[in-house]
C-alpha cells in the first residue's frame, strides 16, 4: 500500500519538477536527505528518486544558458569546493588498490558539490532560501519525528539504531542535532501559527530521537549547540531557562540505561570504545604520513591490505598508550573522526582544504552578522539564519570529531547556504527598496 501511495505521489511530484527548475532542485535535495527508499519495501524501493530529480534539475538548468552564465560567480566557498573536488579526484585516482568504496564516496562528494554549486544559481531571494531551509528540515527531521514518536510510544525503551543513509546511531544523532537550529529558525519565522507549532513539534521529537539513539556524541552535540545558542543569543537568561527545562524533561523521560551510558563520558580515557577510536586515529595518521599530499584514497583505512600494513603504526599519536587495535571482521576499522578520516583519505593537503571549508563557514557567517549588525529588524532574519547555520556547523565540527562523516552532505549545504546568504544580504544592502534578489535573466 505504501508503495502504491508513493507511486501516486510521484505522479504529482514529477510534473511539478518537470515544469519548474527550482522545484526540481528542491526535490533533488529533499529526496537525498529523506532517503525514502529506506521506508519502502515493495516495487518502489528500488526507484532512484534522487537520480531522477537530480537529472531533471540539471537538464533544466543547462537548458537555460542565461541562468548559469549570469548567476554563477566564483567566491571563496565555490573555489574551496572546486579545490576539494579536484583534490578528491587525484586522491581517488592514486588510491591504494582494494578500496571498495573509493570511487563511490568520491562520486557522492562530487554530487554534493554539484548540488551546492547549483544552489548559488537558483537560490536568488529570501523566499527561495526559506523554501530550501524548509525542505532541509522536513526531510532530515522526518527521521527524528519517526524515532521520537516511537520513543514516546514505547515509554522511552525504543532504541534508534540509525539507517543506511546516515550510518549508525551516533551518525544519526549528530545529523538530528545539526538540523535543530534550522527547525528553530523556521519555528520563529513561520507566519502561520499552526505551521510554526508543527516545526516546534518536529524540533521536540527530534530531541527525543537523539535521546533514543543513546549516543554519547549526540549528548555532547546537544550541549555544544545549547552553549552556542546561549552565547550568541540575545536573551541569554531565557535561553538558559529553556535549556534547563528541556534537560530536566529529557533526563526524566530517558531510561536508566541512557543515564548510566552518558555517565561513562566522564571516564572516556578508560573506555575501550574511546581507546579503540584513538587506535584508529593512529592508523589514519600513519596512512597520512606515508601519503602526505593525496592520502590513501577514500575510506583507505577500511581496505584490508592497507589496514594490515598500518595497523601497528603509531602515526603522530605515539605519545598516547592504547591497546592493539582490532579490525572489524578481519578488515579495517572506521576512522572515527572527520579530521582523521580526511587526513588518511586525502592527505595533509586535503585536510588543509577541508579545514578551510569549515573555517570559511564561520568567516562568512561572521561577515554576515557584522555586515547587518545595527541595521534594524529588516535584516534580523538573515542574522538569525546565519547564527543557526553556524550553530549547525559547530555541532558538526564537535560531534564529527568522533565520527566518520567527512563526506556527509549537510555541512557542505550549510556552508553554501551561508555563502548564498551573504550574497543576498550584500545585494539587499545596495538596493534602496530592500528587496533581496540576485540578478537574473528570468526567475525559473
Amino acid at each position: 500500500v505504501r508503495d502504491l501511495m508513493m507511486l501516486g505521489m510521484m505522479l504529482v511530484l514529477l510534473p511539478l519538477a518537470l515544469t519548474n527548475t527550482f522545484a526540481a532542485y528542491l526535490l533533488w535535495g529533499w529526496s537525498g536527505l529523506f532517503a525514502i527508499n529506506y521506508y519502502l519495501y515493495g516495487f518502489m524501493a528500488s526507484v532512484k528518486f534522487v537520480f531522477i530529480f537530480a537529472i531533471i534539475a540539471l537538464v533544466l538548468i543547462f537548458k537555460d544558458k542565461n541562468l548559469y552564465r549570469n548567476r554563477f560567480k566564483f567566491d571563496t566557498t565555490t573555489i574551496l569546493f572546486s579545490l576539494l573536488a579536484i583534490h578528491g579526484l587525484i586522491s581517488a585516482s592514486l588510491a591504494y588498490s582494494g578500496l571498495v568504496r573509493n570511487w563511490e564516496l568520491y562520486l557522492d562528494l562530487l554530487k554534493t558539490m554539484l548540488f551546492c554549486i547549483c544552489m548559488s544559481l537558483l537560490v536568488t531571494n529570501r523566499l527561495r532560501m526559506h523554501a530550501l531551509v524548509i525542505i532541509l528540515v522536513l526531510s532530515t527531521s522526518f527521521h527524528g519525528l519517526v524515532d521520537g514518536l516511537k520513543f514516546l510510544a514505547s515509554g522511552g525503551s525504543h532504541n534508534a539504531v540509525g539507517m543506511p543513509k546516515f550510518g549508525d546511531n551516533n551518525h544519526i544523532a549528530m545529523v538530528m542535532v545539526m538540523i535543530l537550529p534550522l527547525a528553530f529558525y523556521l519555528y520563529r519565522y513561520t507566519k502561520r501559527r499552526i505551521v510554526a507549532l508543527g516545526f516546534l513539534g518536529l524540533l521536540a521529537t527530534t530531541v527525543l530521537a537523539v535521546v533514543a539513539t543513546g549516543s554519547r556524541g549526540g549528548l555532547i552535540s546537544m550541549l555544544t549547540l545549547s552553549a552556542w545558542l546561549v552565547v550568541t543569543g540575545k536573551r541569554k537568561m531565557a535561553g538558559i531557562f529553556v535549556i534547563v527545562l528541556c534537560s530536566v524533561m529529557v533526563v526524566s523521560l530517558a531510561p536508566e540505561s541512557w543515564t548510566s551510558r552518558m555517565n561513562t563520558i566522564k571516564t572516556a580515557e578508560e573506555d575501550s570504545s574511546f581507546l579503540g577510536r584513538v587506535g584508529a586515529w593512529k592508523v589514519s595518521s600513519a596512512i597520512a604520513l606515508s601519503n602526505p599530499f593525496f592520502g590513501g584514497g577514500f575510506r583507505s583505512i577500511q581496505g584490508i591490505e592497507v589496514w594490515n600494513r598500518f595497523k601497528d603504526s603509531q602515526g603522530f599519536l605515539g605519545f598516547i598508550d592504547t591497546p592493539p587495535v582490532m579490525g572489524v571482521h578481519g578488515g579495517g576499522k572506521a576512522a572515527h573522526s572527520i579530521y582523521f578520516e580526511v587526513v588518511a583519505d586525502l592527505g595533509f593537503l586535503g585536510l588543509l582544504i577541508y579545514l578551510s571549508i569549515l573555517l570559511n563557514a564561520f568567516v562568512v557567517g561572521s561577515k554576515i552578522k557584522r555586515f547587518i549588525r545595527n541595521k534594524g529588524d529588516d535584516y534580523a532574519w538573515a542574522y538569525d539564519l546565519a547564527n543557526m547555520l553556524m550553530g549547525s556547523m559547530l555541532v558538526y565540527m564537535v560531534g564529527g570529531a568522533l565520527l566518520s562523516a567527512a563526506y556527509f552532505e549537510l555541512p557542505y549545504i550549510c556552508t553554501m547556504l551561508l555563502a548564498v546568504l551573504f550574497r543576498l544580504v550584500s545585494i539587499q544592502e545596495s538596493k534602496p527598496d530592500g528587496v533581496a534578489q540576485l540578478p537574473a535573466s528570468n526567475m525559473r
Partner: protein
Amino acid sequence: VVKKEHSLIEGLLIMGEVAAMILLLLALRPGRRNGGKENLGIFSFKVHSSDASESGKK
C-alpha cells in the same frame, strides 16, 4: 543490521511528509492566482520574527 519496522503510523507520516512537499511546490508555482509570483503558501514567512507582518511573496 537495521530492522525495518512496518507500521501504519509510519506510512501515514511518510504520506504527510510527501503531501507537505507537494503543498510547498504547488505554492511555489508562479500562477495567475498569486499575480505570477512565487509563493510559499502555508509555509509563508514573517518579515520579522516578532510580528505577523507580510511575507512569503516576492
